[in-house]
Subunit: 290 residues, 2 copies
């Protein structure tokens, strides 16, 4: 760590929080490490439950001016983005003057895929002197580790399905699509795009119920991987107890994510639930340097 | 056409029929051309409505022996496969002796993706002296032509989305996944796998209703393309009036399919409905020889 980075660690960490339980998991991990967190839950996305235990200020998307004032008042310089923020419609944004000034850049960021949106927003923050950090940097204990997380391990057939899923996600990576797919017996059953992982898993359960998927229950794997070249400070693939519930309901054998580039919400609860449901959770050793 | 092929045209055409209205459209087209059709609707998949107007024999998957006897009695040699036949579970097959004899081959065909399954089944039929022909060969008028099919044409932005969708489908092609995707403003909203096109479109409508897709209604395109190297005698991508309804309900601007390698059920009704709903249907000029 550079001396400058070490100094920055003395300032409270600003967390811009979207939906899901990840903000709480990460804030807990950061505060365990001795650093204070100031949460900025985004109205319309963040959930009160996941921020209530921490100092927080609700913000609106589009209120960059207010955000800047709050950051100054709190003495924050480092920012981490956490949780789901769905691509908003432009008409939905409530713009303040601080935002209007950066609007041309925001406009460019809004065109194109998710990576484009997020990295564009990231550049705007960086241009204003903030330092963007990744959740994996401030809370390394939430990264998926290598190997089996719970009691169960993937079978040989599961391992083949994981391999095929990773290859597919890699081939789709330039298109900035999903970060997840479901593969059973070397047959791709679902590919994630705008619906997100939970709904994709619900679809598998539904297709199975309707007889459109006829593999034996306990077959198939949910595979998650970060896009190639994705800036890990934004939108790392995440798994949590809800993912396990979805995997179990979909009748899959388990889930695999690339170790070191996927994060876990509520890791203990995740493992407990996976063991109870009889599904594996596996951290795949990442491929060589890219 | 070779003299042998011309002779074969004198025999009635056997159509193995799955679900949907395509069997009727194709049988009508073939009979208009002067050739008789004998339909073999597959129990559990084919719909009575789409076969009732033609001479037909219901068959069970797995009843290859009975099928061979019927083929001989009807004097058929050419077979075309039409409509949706979902990947069945092995336990669901009711096997007769004719099937049991070819079972080792069927078993191999069952492992792997859809192409594998279909081409494997195709090889079994060919080994028994049948000639497999494609729907596009016996009913060329059902192939999607180049250019706009109805009143409306894609905008420049739609054309960019179509291009991105085709590139994505090409990149995914080796994985034997879907043949369709939805792209809006260069952002991939959905990728088809086991759920099929109709359900993928229903998902877009649902995500829009739930606020998870926030593009303006009338934006985005359904893109369909045959897999690269796919044997066109099996499983060409198909569109029909139901597809148009799905596109309209999903709030998309229109649909594009590769001209010459996608087929249309009820073409007149398809165009009428597209014009009424205000969506375009466009046949994309295929890329150069592959």
């Amino acid at each position: 760590m550079t001396p400058e980075a070490a100094r920055d660690d003395a300032s409270p960490l600003a967390m811009i929080c979207g939906g899901g339980s990840l903000p709480r998991t990460i804030a807990e991990s950061v505060e365990r490490s001795g650093r204070r967190c100031i949460l900025f839950p985004v109205r319309g996305w963040a959930e009160l439950d996941s921020v209530a235990a921490f100092r927080h200020h609700w913000i609106d998307l589009g209120a960059f001016g207010r955000f800047q004032r709050l950051m100054q008042a709190e003495g924050c310089r480092d920012i981490v983005f956490i949780g789901t923020i769905l691509r908003p419609s432009v008409s939905q944004l409530r713009l303040d003057w601080g935002t209007v000034k950066v609007l041309p850049k925001v406009w460019r960021a809004f065109r194109g895929g998710d990576d484009h949106l997020l990295s564009g927003v990231g550049r705007i923050f960086a241009a204003h002197g903030y330092r963007l950090v990744g959740a994996h940097e401030v809370a390394p204990d939430i990264l998926v580790p290598e190997g089996a997380l719970g009691r169960l391990v993937p079978s040989e057939r599961n391992t083949a399905d994981i391999g095929l899923g990773l290859e597919l996600l890699q081939a789709m990576s330039p298109f900035d699509v999903g970060q997840a797919a479901v593969v059973a017996n070397r047959h791709v059953l679902a590919v994630e795009a705008a619906e997100g992982t939970d709904r994709m898993l619900a679809r598998i359960a539904e297709l199975r119920h309707d007889g459109r998927i006829r593999t034996t229950p306990g077959t198939g794997v949910l595979v998650k991987a970060a896009k190639i070249g994705q800036d890990h400070r934004f939108d790392l693939p995440a798994i949590g107890p809800k993912t396990i519930d979805g995997v179990a309901r979909a009748g899959l054998a388990g889930l695999a994510a690339v170790a070191g580039s996927a994060i876990m919400a509520e890791p203990q609860e995740l493992v407990r639930r996976a063991d109870a449901a009889g599904v594996f959770t596996f951290g795949v050793r990442p491929a060589g340097p890219r």
